[in-house]
């Protein structure tokens, strides 16, 4: 076992529940590396909703709250307001974040509260059996869309930017080094930071949507679909259809942060 894992994981909870080759494990790996480099393990408070992705903080040996489906962000907001010294990180899946908990996501971004949301986006509801998710691509076949998904997918990063999130990035499980760097940046950023991590689900999305359950082939598909933002800006829009644009999408450190605003308001109220 890797020394970083040895240091930060709960041995009694291992191994991970993830299927062999699941991208969520790579995201936990990148997260632990970022935490190790920053040395902020003692300040962390981790949150998860329901789903495969939301299960990942449970393995990390620090304060973890496992909440209702989609409701990790409001619980995290509460903890951050009560104890602003904590570094709050929410692990969530695509269905958990923009499907069931979509409303909470919009408002946390709007409030610009200091927390990091890591959305592991495998384009399917994996744990419950492979149902169509809000991020499932058009015409993708899943268990509940056997003739192809008629709906267009949601672009969570665009939603976050439009609602006022101050750090937004997208990476994939095929870019573990860049992902660890982005997580580090997001955790040091003051304000609402959101990282969309596109990863592979060999068991559900892999077998039904892409026609293969082989994680190696799925990682290649993701890698071939990814285009760095700098290169994408020089490409015509029709070539970018269906591609994953990776990189730092938005950063703005000048916006007021909710916890600061509320504590300033409290001081103002006391002075009256």
């Amino acid at each position: 076992m890797h020394p970083v894992a040895e240091k930060y994981l709960r041995k009694e909870a291992l191994p991970f529940i993830f299927c062999p080759g699941c991208g969520h494990g790579t995201v936990v790996n990148a997260f632990l590396r970022a935490v190790d480099e920053l040395g902020i393990m003692e300040e962390l408070a981790l949150f998860g909703g329901i789903g495969c992705a939301s299960w990942s903080p449970v393995y990390i040996n620090t304060d973890v709250l496992h909440t209702l489906h989609g409701r990790a962000i409001p619980v995290a907001t509460g903890l951050k307001l009560a104890n602003p010294g904590r570094k709050v990180v929410v692990f969530t899946g695509d269905g958990d974040c923009v499907g069931i908990g979509g409303n909470h996501f919009l408002h946390a971004a709007r409030r610009n509260i200091d927390m990091t949301v890591i959305m592991m986006d495998n384009q399917v509801y994996g744990m419950t059996g492979g149902q169509v998710a809000p991020t499932t691509r058009t015409e993708a076949r899943t268990q509940t869309s056997p003739y192809g998904n008629p709906e267009p997918p949601i672009d969570a990063c665009a939603v976050a930017v439009s609602c006022g999130a101050t750090y937004v990035a997208r990476w994939t499980s095929a870019h573990p080094r860049e992902l660890a760097r982005a997580i580090k940046e997001a955790m040091t950023h003051k304000g609402f930071s959101f990282i969309d991590v596109v990863d592979q689900c060999p068991t559900q999305a892999g077998r039904y949507t892409h026609g293969t359950g082989d994680p190696v082939k799925l990682l290649k598909i993701i890698k071939n679909m990814s285009i760095p933002l700098a290169r994408a800006q020089k490409m015509p829009p029709e070539e970018l259809k269906g591609k994953i644009l990776v990189g730092k999408i938005h950063e703005d450190g000048a916006q007021p942060e909710l916890t600061d605003m509320i504590y300033a308001l409290m001081e103002k109220g006391k002075a009256r």
Binding site: H2, G25, R33
Partner: protein, 74 residues
């Protein structure tokens, strides 16, 4: 010299490390761990350049690459 250790208890045999390694250090094997997964074989550890891609891609954090500094002075 590089020492590559795959933890057989935690490896789930997804073979992502075999695919990711730019130097083709890992090899498919028929060695099974207690759970029945096929654990890759470290066939060419001397070719390793310690890029750590296998470590970072491993979804179960089962791989450790150690740089053993015994080449100094030789």
């Amino acid at each position: 010299m590089k020492k590559i250790v795959i933890d057989e208890i935690y490896c789930k045999g997804c073979k992502l490390c075999i695919d990711q390694c730019p130097k083709n250090v890992f090899e498919n094997s028929s060695k099974r761990n207690p759970k029945g997964y096929l654990v890759p074989d470290v066939a060419r550890a001397e070719d390793c350049i310690a890029c750590l891609l296998c470590e970072m891609i491993c979804p179960d954090m089962a791989i450790t690459v150690e740089v053993v500094d015994d080449e100094k002075g030789s």
